[in-house]
């Protein structure tokens, strides 16, 4: 990431997801650390407990309803924690605190971007989603439409989003584990993949949910403890914390203001929209709303989740600023060889700036807490990849196999079998791609995941819920246009065209860092025009189905039976 520090806004924005996902801690160049037995021991404890839960969950995961949606038996509060656990990745923990450590205020800008999608989910998505759907968001998007085309579209949107997010997390996991535990990259990726397959195939949504809940609690506890220790060091005066940070940081007062994010407002807005509406289109997040009993619980769970996630992002900000004083002034955490080369203390921090939070754990809590935070970081990755795999497997088994291929007449145990096979295949694929893509730019993968979610999944979902005029044809046209333009836009943007593919600077055909502003517009326009000029017989059925769908979305009448099977 150091080479990016001097680049202008476009490039910085392009690498944003990699910052957030701790790309440089995660890239192949990370140094292997000596084996950290304390951390491994604590991690082993976490794995043992979660495997125990998986065994318990397996005894109850015999129906598809339990496998996909935990039988609808999760409470609003539990689901709020699980959503937070699904969303707060290790990378946003390490990446944002590392970014704050390196450039100060800019880190807060990213925290804000990752939070603002949640109110939108609450106001527009959560309740209708729960009232209309059962296992996947495709069941909502296809509610009144022809099943096959919409399910295929939604499955494509889901699988592209999941695949790229999953690859990013796998690359991240491998690099991080190598760094934290001193394990070889390949073994680390295989280990994560195998554990994830075990959780999901045997425990389904029940086990995944509890892994996410436990991880969320551990992460919130660990981050709270660190932030508290930082504030106590400064006698609970943020002003003192900022003052000492400015005194100790090579950039001085600059860390207290927005930095290089000023030259290109279009990119900033486009990225902002991508983050905001991408959040509302992530399939593994949407799927969590089917695990609660009804719309009331769904609504409560987003409220809790928003609270936990917002609180967490404020903690990462305190952790990053505190580390400037507590880590960068302590020779224990600095690489003397880099210092001798004239690097600043921030640049010379052991393990790179993305290890800030882990270094701070050692500074404020000693070896035991260091081991704890290392284990939590790993647990965090496991929880996120499990949720992703489950969402991908459901798209294959429920949307493609049971609905499209078997026309809704699949035997329950056959569908369950297909979903387990899909989980294993996705898991193996994730391991293979994670190893093959070791050098892939994580920014590309994550940028694409959010862009597709915002440009394909979100427009189709929100228009199907709220716009009477939408037709099957309009949804398919708009959805696929959004998917393709998001993909092409990311590939042709400077972040990939120049930084990854190596074409000369300024030659990128698409000059902005993120395509969301354009690809979302195209998707909505495509849906609108495609529906307006759809005079087919099917279009009539689609529009006539709106009233019944809308009544159910608003009141939940007809949805009661969905939870228990």
């Amino acid at each position: 990431m150091k080479k990016h520090a001097a680049l202008p806004l476009g490039a910085l924005l392009a690498v944003l997801p990699s910052l957030v996902f701790a790309a440089d801690a995660l890239s192949a160049d990370t140094e292997k650390q000596p084996l950290n037995w304390l951390a491994i021991g604590m991690f082993a404890l976490f794995v043992a407990i979660t495997l125990g839960i998986t065994k318990w969950a397996a005894s109850r995961a015999h129906s598809v309803s339990h496998f996909y949606a935990a039988g609808g038996g999760i409470t609003g509060f539990q689901n709020g924690l699980a959503i937070a656990g699904d969303y707060m990745s290790a990378a946003s923990f390490l990446g944002i605190s590392g970014l704050v450590y390196k450039s100060g205020y800019d880190g807060l800008i990213y925290s804000v971007g990752f939070l603002v999608g949640w109110p939108i989910v609450t106001f527009l998505i959560a309740e209708p989603l729960r009232n209309l759907g059962r296992f996947t968001f495709a069941s909502v998007a296809s509610f009144r439409f022809e099943q096959t085309p919409i399910r295929v579209l939604a499955a494509c949107g889901t699988l592209v989003t999941v695949a790229f997010y999953l690859i990013a997390q796998m690359i991240g996991a491998g690099g991080l584990i190598k760094l934290l535990f001193g394990v070889d990259y390949h073994y680390a990726v295989i280990g994560v993949g195998v554990l994830m397959i075990v959780y999901v195939t045997f425990g389904g949504m029940v086990a995944t949910t509890w892994v996410q809940i436990i991880k969320a609690l551990l992460l919130l506890f660990g981050a709270s403890f660190m932030a508290f220790a930082v504030l106590r060091h400064f006698n609970f005066s943020p002003e003192a914390m900022f003052r000492e940070a400015v005194d100790n940081h090579p950039n001085g007062l600059k860390i207290m203001a927005p930095g290089s994010l000023v030259s290109d407002p279009i990119s900033a807005i486009s990225l902002g929209l991508g983050l905001m509406f991408g959040t509302a289109g992530l399939p593994h997040i949407l799927m969590r709303f089917f695990t609660v009993r009804d719309a009331v619980a769904a609504r409560k769970s987003v409220f809790y989740a928003t609270g936990f996630i917002g609180y967490f992002y404020i903690l990462t900000f305190i952790i990053g600023f505190g580390a400037i004083t507590l880590v960068s002034t302590d020779p224990e955490f600095l690489d003397p060889a880099l210092l001798a080369k004239g690097k600043t203390a921030i640049e010379a921090t052991l393990g790179g700036t993305n290890m800030t939070a882990v270094d701070l754990a050692k500074a404020v809590g000693g070896d035991v807490f260091f081991g704890f935070i290392s284990a939590v970081a790993f647990a965090t990755i496991l929880a996120v990849v499990s949720g992703l795999t489950l969402a991908g497997a459901s798209a294959i088994s429920h949307d493609l196999y049971a609905t499209v291929f078997k026309k809704g007449a699949a035997h329950e145990h056959r569908e369950l079998l297909v979903s387990k096979i899909a989980t294993v295949v996705l898991g193996i694929l994730a391991i293979v791609l994670g190893i093959a893509a070791e050098k892939l730019n994580v920014a590309f993968a994550v940028g694409l995941a959010f862009a597709v979610a915002a440009s394909c999944n979100f427009p189709v979902l929100v228009m199907s819920i709220f716009w009477r005029g939408m037709t099957t044809r309009g949804a398919v046209i708009g959805g696929f246009l959004g998917l393709v333009t998001a993909f092409v836009g990311v590939v042709l943007s400077p972040g990939i065209w120049v930084d990854v593919m190596g074409y000369p600077k300024g030659s990128a055909p698409f000059p902005y860092a993120n395509p969301a502003l354009f690809s979302m517009t195209i998707a909505f326009l495509g849906i609108w025009l495609g529906s307006k000029f759809d005079f087919s017989e099917r279009a009539k059925i689609d529009r006539e189905g709106f009233d019944a769908q809308f009544v159910r979305a608003q009141t939940g009448i007809g949805a009661e039976g969905a939870a228990h099977h």
Partner: protein
């Protein structure tokens, strides 16, 4: 659901109130969220100096710190406003609509 039962709900004044009220609140809160966020991005893009100004004479803390934290806080508060309103008004209306359907 279809036919006369659906018609009855569509004509129910309570249903109309629910739909109108929820669309209004959800739409307004979404617009406010978007405005706050785009406003924040706008400040970063066009007025970074404003965010970088000290909060008071002799202070290191800048205007941008409370502004950023407030944006995060506002997301939580706006979500809370919706949830409280839905828990009190909408859930009651929905219960009454369901009762009306049963009594027909």
């Amino acid at each position: 659901m279809h036919g006369p039962r659906l018609e009855a709900i569509l004509q129910d004044p309570k249903y109309k109130e629910l739909v109108r009220n929820r669309a209004l609140l959800g739409g307004a809160l979404s617009a406010i969220t978007l405005a706050i966020y785009l406003g924040f991005i706008g400040l970063i893009a066009y007025a970074p100096k404003l965010l970088g100004a000290p909060l008071g004479a002799g202070l290191t803390t800048t205007v941008g710190i409370p502004v950023g934290v407030l944006v995060i806080f506002s997301a939580f508060v706006l979500t809370g406003v919706y949830v409280v309103r839905a828990n009190t008004t909408y859930d009651r209306l929905i219960r009454e609509i369901i009762e009306d359907v049963k009594n027909q």
